[in-house]
């Protein structure tokens, strides 16, 4: 089939697409390191090595060509996303387990690259948070950036009471869900050591790092604007309306958009083309639904962040969304001049 037109091909490859995604994560990671220390790099390394090993083994078992698939970069993207959604001081085996779930179960058992109906990194996140809720919510406390101590937590005996704390999102949710505390959003945000800035200490800066990388991906046409815009817009709108209605109970849009995994989700997770919607209108619906579910789970659910569960729920709806949002074909758009 190779001697058929077109004889010209754009020099594009899956590898280039994936490498661009990895590059776009770098600004966010840099800020992450600044606020939470170098442990995140170690997590990324653990996840990457695990992913490549798992990918090799699975490709060998499935009798697929190793070189094109190992070098396509997709396993690394999954690994990095898993690593970035774990607490940086989580024990090393948590990252290994997460990546194995993502690569072996969510990707290869469903048929490998391009076939997975669910976002592999989010499958891993959901599995881990259900199985190890406590480990998954131990984030390094503000100022706990000493590399040696962090490595002790990752690889050695964990005695962390003094140095861990919940994410701002988690802290807020816990406070608001405890009836005796009679907490209010402004009360919690104002007093708790985790907070102090908009999205929680450091979080909004990390979010801006991801935003920067994400915008670059849009400019590079790796992703389109639809999903990030609809996701952030809907999340912002839902939290705005709720906070206007009851400011004591619901945090505002700035908090929701800039905290936790919102920005990572908007530009790097919801935009996974394989498991997400592909039509322009479908992308808007998919991302809006995702944001709404995220907000609901964040506010009313039992888990610290809602993006992972929301992603899986929306992944299920993708075939239906895509089918019902097929764009009009040339000449079939109705209006003619």
């Amino acid at each position: 089939m190779s001697n058929n037109s077109p004889f010209l091909r754009q020099p594009a490859s899956v590898q280039v697409v994936m490498l661009k995604v990895l590059a776009a994560l770098l600004p966010g990671i840099a800020v992450y390191i600044h606020f939470f220390g170098w442990a995140v790099v170690v997590q990324i390394a653990i996840a990457s090595v695990t992913a490549l090993v798992a990918e090799t083994v699975m490709l060998a078992i499935r009798k697929k060509a190793l070189k094109p698939f190992l070098t396509d970069g997709s396993a690394l993207v999954t690994a990095w996303l898993v690593a970035l959604t774990l607490p940086p001081i989580a024990p090393w085996w948590l990252a290994v387990l997460g990546v194995l779930i993502a690569i072996v179960v969510a990707k290869h058992l469903y048929g490998g690259l391009g076939q997975n109906p669910f976002n592999p990194a989010m499958v891993a996140f959901c599995a881990l948070i259900v199985a190890y809720p406590q480990l998954m919510s131990q984030w390094p406390a503000v100022g706990f950036t000493d590399f040696g101590a962090q490595m002790q937590a990752v690889f050695g005996h964990r005695d962390l009471d003094a140095v861990v704390m919940a994410t701002p999102l988690d802290a807020l949710r816990t406070a608001l869900h405890t009836p005796e505390a009679r907490a209010t959003v402004s009360g919690v945000l104002g007093s708790h050591a985790t907070f102090g800035n908009i999205g929680g200490r450091g979080w909004e800066w990390i979010a801006l790092g991801y935003l920067l990388g994400g915008l670059w991906l849009v400019q590079q046409r790796v992703i389109t604007w639809h999903i990030p815009a609809a996701f952030l817009g809907t999340l912002g709108l839902a939290s705005l309306l709720a906070s206007l209605a009851s400011p004591d109970q619901y945090a505002g849009p700035a908090f929701h958009v800039l905290t936790g995994g919102a920005m990572l989700g908007a530009f790097f997770i919801a935009t996974d083309p394989v498991s997400g919607s592909t039509t322009p209108r479908g992308k808007l619906i998919f991302a809006a639904g995702l944001a709404l579910l995220t907000w609901i789970i964040r506010v009313f659910g039992a888990y610290p962040d809602g993006i992972a569960f929301a992603t899986l729920l929306m992944n299920i709806c993708v075939p239906l969304i895509d089918m019902s949002t097929q764009p009009a074909v040339f000449g079939h758009k109705g209006k003619q001049p």
Partner: protein, 512 residues
């Protein structure tokens, strides 16, 4: 200025026009033997009018139209007909087809030419003359032009669009023609507009051809014609008929409809030129401009007689040693010629020599990652990856639901796919598969009809027989009633039973 409408999708490959559009037009030498295929137009093949040994003059008809969608074919030079032989023709499958082979006598003597004043003749007459002059669309499809000047009762042609976009990379023959023959092109276009009843002419030229735009604009002013020359943005496939109509008028002609359903009709600039030659000069379509470019030392444009072996033409441009394939057409929609023995035909706009370095083999094919690049590049607003999925799985009905037949096979999707999936190959395959199945279904329908007819006939015959038997039985009964004798009765009953068994045996359905 006319507002332009643009179209979604499209791609911008490197244009590679300057290699071949810098020099002038070189007249290719007359070959000693010309091979003129009888089938050169879309529609039906032409019907030969000559036989071995006949002497023919340049421009003499050697084949007449073979049906209502067919045109005449002419001797490209004077000489002797060697015969009607099967010979390779330019086709991706290396097809052999009947060709009139003419040995040139070297005199190149014209038949008597009869120019006409097109505005003094009835349009029907002009159409016949276009047909008999062998004029077909020269943009590549080779559809008989006289047919395109007609329109049905519910159709109309108000605007005649002249396609000078030439959006395929490498090809510059229309560019050169517009630069050098702008006046003749517009004369021809005016005649086509007159025949079709169009009130205005709009010429669309990609804006990477400023010389052509200037020449055409100047010619339009000189002629004082109601012609608009429009530079359209350079983006492949702006020269696709549907895309150019869309860019210039905003009209989208969907699959299954024709431009005259929307008041427009589209001709290539070279077709307009051929029309002028045919009617205003009495010269039938016996040569054309061909770009020879790519992996050659001396790329350029050549005025070539139809029937010239492609190998001879290619030699004029001096192909480089590492040439590993030769395409007819451009790199986006052309095809690799299985043999250079095939002749230049009316549809030959470009011979493109290629090498491994020019067209590197794409990397290994990867699974589709649903990135949507193909959908964004598709000028027909299709979802190629969905059609690919269903074509590959041979769920052809679904592929059709995703508008498989709206695909114009422009190749943009394959061009951009990061997984290097040869998408358009799958679509060509799926379309031919569906067409084959439809044919099969038609055949099956016919067979079923025959079968039903037979059943009906057999049923009728059975009933007739039953009626006869009943009559016989009644007769027997009557006889029985009359016959008092018991033995007689027995014999009659035995005969009736035997008949009944006979009938049963016959009733067993026959399976063919």
């Amino acid at each position: 200025m006319r507002p332009l409408f643009g179209f979604t999708g499209g791609v911008k490959p490197a244009s590679h026009k300057t290699e071949s559009n810098q020099g002038g037009i070189v007249v290719a030498p007359l070959p000693p033997v010309l091979t003129v295929p009888l089938r050169q137009n879309a529609g039906l093949a032409s019907r030969p009018l000559v036989q071995a040994g006949d002497r023919v003059l340049k421009g003499q008809a050697i084949a007449g139209p073979g049906g209502s969608i067919s045109v005449a074919i002419h001797a490209p030079t004077s000489g002797t007909v060697r015969g009607i032989e099967t010979h390779p023709i330019p086709h991706p499958s290396g097809l052999l087809a009947p060709c009139v082979v003419i040995e040139a006598d070297g005199e190149d003597r014209w038949i008597e030419r009869t120019p006409v004043d097109p505005y003094a003749l009835p349009v029907e007459e002009l159409r016949t003359r276009l047909r008999d002059a062998g004029v077909v669309g020269l943009g590549g499809a080779a559809f008989p032009s006289f047919v395109k000047t007609q329109h049905g009762p519910t159709q109309r042609i108000e605007t005649l669009i002249l396609n000078g976009a030439e959006c395929e990379p490498f090809i510059t023959c229309d560019d050169l023609l517009m630069r050098t023959q702008a006046g003749q092109i517009l004369d021809g276009a005016a005649v086509l507009a007159h025949i079709a009843g169009a009130q205005r002419i709009v010429v669309g030229i990609e804006d990477n051809k400023p010389e052509a735009v200037a020449a055409m604009t100047a010619a339009a002013q000189r002629a004082g014609l109601l012609v608009e020359v429009v530079a359209v943005p350079t983006r492949y496939p702006a020269g696709g008929e549907k895309q150019l109509i869309r860019v210039l008028t905003g009209i989208e002609v969907p699959f299954g409809k024709l431009p005259p359903d929307y008041g427009v009709q589209c001709f290539n600039v070279a077709t307009a030129y051929a029309t002028a030659r045919a009617l205003l000069h009495g010269e039938p379509m016996i040569s054309r401009l061909v770009t020879v470019t790519g992996n050659v030392e001396r790329p350029g444009n050549f005025e070539v007689r139809i029937g010239t072996p492609i190998a001879d033409l290619l030699k004029l441009a001096e192909p480089k040693a590492d040439t590993d394939r030769n395409l007819m057409g451009g790199p986006m929609m052309g095809f690799a010629l299985p043999t250079l023995d095939a002749p230049v035909i009316k549809a030959t706009n470009c011979i493109l020599a290629g090498s491994k370095a020019m067209f590197p083999a794409p990397g290994p094919e990867m699974p589709c990652i649903r990135c949507g690049s193909c959908a964004r590049a598709c000028p027909m607003d299709l979802q190629p990856f969905e059609m690919y999925w269903f074509s590959r799985a041979k769920i052809l009905g679904k592929a059709q639901e995703y508008h498989l037949f709206d695909c114009i096979e422009c190749g943009c999707c394959t061009y951009v796919c990061p997984s290097r999936i040869p998408l358009v190959d799958y679509f060509r395959f799926a379309k031919s598969e569906i067409r084959a199945r439809e044919k099969e279904n038609e055949a099956a329908d016919a067979a079923r009809q025959r079968y039903e007819f037979r059943l009906e006939r057999e049923e009728r015959e059975k009933q007739e027989k039953a009626a006869k038997l009943a009559a016989k039985a009644a007769e027997t009964k009557a006889k029985l009633a009359q016959a008092g004798d018991a033995d007689d009765k027995k014999a009659l009953i035995a005969a009736a039973v035997a008949r009944a068994q006979e009938q049963k045996a016959e009733e067993k359905p026959g399976v063919e």
